[in-house]
Assembly symmetry: C2
DNA sequence: TCATAAAATGTAATCGATTGCTCAATATTA
DNA sequence: TAATATTGAGCAATCGATTACATTTTATGA
């Protein structure tokens, strides 16, 4: 049970004070080169490691940032985390990951807990349930940078990195129109969330710009599951005038739809085109690869981390920064008609 | 820029000492009920939040655990994290996530960093490159619990939660044999890693138990990519006596193989059977769902977390615990011949 | 009513690193 | 050579919470 070596041990060893040791280790110019060398050597010899907790207490900076998101094991989110981690680790920050399971009260607890743990910043993608902002304004009140990614709340002082969902939906829909589709349906998830509102808006905009009337029957809600996609497709196809394309706000929805469409004998992409959203890895592995709107989660993570670093560095005023990333449409077989190739 | 309230603020407010406040907050029996009530009320009124960093410094317990793994955004690993997080969060622990990118020196840095950060434990899946154990024995020397998951190193004092890869491979191979396959190939990744050695061994065992000779030509190495799977399948199929089944140590390898096999006109599962390993989500989404060995990552994460908690609680002797989880074979279309249904 | 037990609170050190201020030892200048 | 400047290092407080140990207050019993 070895005691950790502290600067006091080094000090005793060299018959100097801990203050000198501390300064030497931090390369303070007031310390002579000789002493520094001695201290360094002794530190190495005694296997000294700085105690970040003690530093944190003294400086008020824990060098930890909290990341709050609905679920960790979703490709999108885990890739965002990867981006955050890759950007922040080299700067000496550790990343604390937490998941809300889309529960508002869990989110509140987590944020409180992170504040207690003295994190230097919080990067968050709010849960679907979250409707109160109190726990979020608390963060800013404590002078802790708050950066939203993907799902944001409008809070004065909070920054954000989001995807231009409107543009993504617009691109997807426009692409379907370019393929000759005119009866384009839209599968959505939860119109209470801004991102889905924006996707719907982008879809509508593309339609109207191309002189296609918006048909409310073509908009259908679903859960983010394959079976839901199948059911939704079934409903759409039983309409008096069934659609000839689907733009789904989720890849699983698109996948479910495709499965149902094949089942009823539709040929994709010739008879019917499908575009998803998120560019989940599986979309490209399929035998019928699915077109999808890429959300560049890695870039989103890195950008959120960079925004955080800017906030931390500029200790003057808290600047609010809102970055909107442009989505890319990955066109694959599910929506690329042969005669257009 | 509000100052955080401390126990001293509460003490001043009530004209008592910080010691009393501390005891009251911790429900110490030596403090009268009246005082406790007063302190609690004042704490709430002043919006007091305990400073975990100060506590950590005093107690030597940071209530943080470090998780080290190759990549965060792999379904297997992110699901393990989820399991860890779900088990540890309710116990008041925060989880610090780090990724090694399979680099040994990054792993060494990370472990050092986590120790500096005074984590209460380290859960790790070692990188492929890692060959030295020094950084790991360091952890145990500092009396910090070390729990391996999935990929382990044999270190005295370290615990582990792993999958019975041997059994998984055995089950997969046996299943292929039961389907009538006799010329079964095996795609592997890196035989320097124990898990792949075990999968190979399980494969061999199943063959030998069923009187099938082991053919070294049928074992082929590849990277964990689809293209590698395609290439490997190509090589296998150009053997003088090509196989009639593949047990791949990775799902992407299986997927690549399937794509190539279809290309050359093989009918799966009638002509050829394929089983993968990991049960990645995409395996079940495919039009031809792929059989795969499930590694139960969620359970693995939870179990690793539980082992950690046991270690922490039993402050007597450091007990080494090695849990081996049994894999389940998910049989899907890629290996289920019609006449066997 | 007074001694003694029991209960409630206070004192002060501690965890490890940092830093403003002070002081001592050289170095520089006139 | 005396006076001043420069450099190097020590002293002691601080961050916020915890906790042996001491002290005060109240309760109990004879």
């Amino acid at each position: 049970m070895k005691k950790k070596t502290t600067i006091y041990d080094i000090a005793k060893e060299l018959n100097i004070t801990a203050a000198t040791v501390s300064r030497a280790l931090n390369d303070n110019p007031r310390i002579s080169a000789d002493t520094k060398k001695l201290v360094m050597a002794t530190a190495k010899r005694l296997n000294y490691k700085q105690n970040r907790v003690a530093q944190a207490l003294k400086s008020g900076k824990s060098k930890n940032v909290g990341v709050v998101l609905p679920y960790i094991n979703r490709n999108f989110f885990s890739t965002v985390i990867r981006g955050i981690e890759e950007e922040l680790n080299p700067k000496g920050y550790n990343v604390i990951i937490t998941q809300t399971h889309e529960k508002a009260n869990k989110e509140i607890d987590i944020v409180q807990n992170l504040l207690n743990a003295q994190v230097d910043g919080i990067l968050i993608s709010v849960s679907r349930q979250t409707n109160s902002n109190d726990h979020l304004t608390q963060v800013l009140k404590k002078n802790v940078p708050l950066i939203f990614f993907d799902r944001k709340k409008d809070i004065k002082g909070g920054s954000s990195v989001t995807l231009d969902d409107f543009q993504g939906a617009y691109k997807a829909t426009q692409h379907l129109i370019a393929q000759g589709c005119t009866k384009i349906a839209h599968m959505t998830i939860d119109l209470a969330l801004l991102i889905y509102q924006n996707r719907l808006a982008g879809y509508k905009q593309a339609l109207s710009e191309h002189g296609i009337d918006f048909n409310p029957d073509y908009v259908i809600g679903l859960q983010s599951e394959i079976v839901a996609g199948i059911d939704a497709a079934k409903k759409l196809m039983s309409l008096p005038e069934p659609p000839d394309a689907i733009f789904s706000a989720t890849d699983l929805g698109a996948l479910g739809a495709i499965q149902y469409l094949k089942e009823i004998g539709k040929t994709i992409p010739d008879d019917f085109c499908v575009v998803g959203f998120s560019n989940e890895p599986f979309t490209q592995f399929m035998e019928l690869p699915i077109s999808s709107v890429d959300q560049s989660p890695l870039l989103m993570g890195k950008t959120a981390a960079k925004v955080f670093l800017e906030q931390i560095d500029s200790d003057d005023v808290k600047i609010e920064k809102n970055v909107v990333l442009s989505p890319t449409l990955e066109i694959r077989k599910s929506s690329l008609k042969r005669d257009n190739q």
